[in-house]
Amino acid sequence: MPEILLTFERDGKTVHKETSGFKGKDCESLTEFLDQALGATDLERIHTREYYEGGDTNERQRVR
C-alpha cells in the first residue's frame, strides 16, 4: 500500500515528505494537498526511480 512519511524538524519550519509505493506522478499529485496545507515555500523535490516508472536517474527540482 502506498505510504506518506512526514518528518518534522525541531526548527519549527522544515518538513520532510517521503512517498513510497506510488507509480509515476501520482506521488506528487495525490500528496500535494499536504504541501498546500502547510503553506510550503522553498520546496525541494527529489524524484526517484518509481517516479519515472523505469527511469534510472534521480532528479532534483526546486519550486519557490
Binding site: L5, E9, L34
Partner: protein
C-alpha cells in the same frame, strides 16, 4: 521510494495553531480566538497590540498573540521583550510550538480525507506521521480516499 520533498512552512491556520498551543502546555481557558483581531494587553497597560489568537497572561507579564496578515493569511507572533528575558516563551519554546503546528496541520488534513496514520518520534527525537494511502480509481482521475 517515489519522491522526497523538503519544504519550509508558514503558519496560516488558527485551529492548528490553537491545537499546537495546547500541545505545548497552554491551558485551553487561556486561549482565545477572534475572527476579527482585537486588542491584547502588553506589559504596560498602554502597550497593546492586535491579535486574532491570544494567550492571556498568567498572573504577570503580558498577553501573547498572533495576528493574521489579511493579504497573505499568515500569522505573525507578538511576544514582548519581557517574555524573552524571562524565558517564558523562549525561541526554543517557539520552535517547539511551530513544529507541533506542522504536525497538527497535517493531522487535520489527513483526518479530513479519512486517512489512517500513526504518529511517533524518530531516533533523532523528531515527530513523524506515517500515513497509509488508499487509491481510488475514478473514470478520469485518481484520488486519495479512506480505507474501506
Amino acid at each position: 521510494m517515489s519522491h522526497l520533498a523538503r519544504m519550509h512552512t508558514a503558519v496560516k491556520d488558527s485551529e492548528a495553531l490553537i491545537r499546537a498551543l495546547k500541545r505545548v502546555g497552554i491551558p485551553e481557558q487561556r486561549i482565545e480566538y477572534h475572527e476579527k483581531a482585537i486588542l491584547a494587553r502588553g506589559y504596560h497597560q498602554e502597550e497593546t497590540f492586535n491579535a486574532n489568537v491570544i494567550v492571556r497572561k498568567d498572573g504577570f507579564g503580558s498577553d501573547i498573540g498572533w495576528e493574521r496578515n489579511p493579504k497573505t493569511g499568515e500569522f505573525t507572533a507578538h511576544l514582548d521583550e519581557f517574555h524573552y528575558r524571562n524565558q517564558h516563551y523562549s525561541q526554543e519554546w517557539q520552535r517547539n510550538l511551530y513544529t507541533f503546528y506542522n504536525v497538527e496541520k497535517c493531522k487535520m488534513e489527513l483526518d479530513n480525507k479519512g486517512m489512517e496514520y500513526e504518529e511517533g518520534t524518530d531516533n533523532q527525537n523528531r515527530p513523524y506521521i506515517r500515513a497509509r494511502v488508499v487509491l481510488e480509481d475514478n473514470s478520469r482521475s485518481r484520488t486519495v480516499g479512506a480505507r474501506r
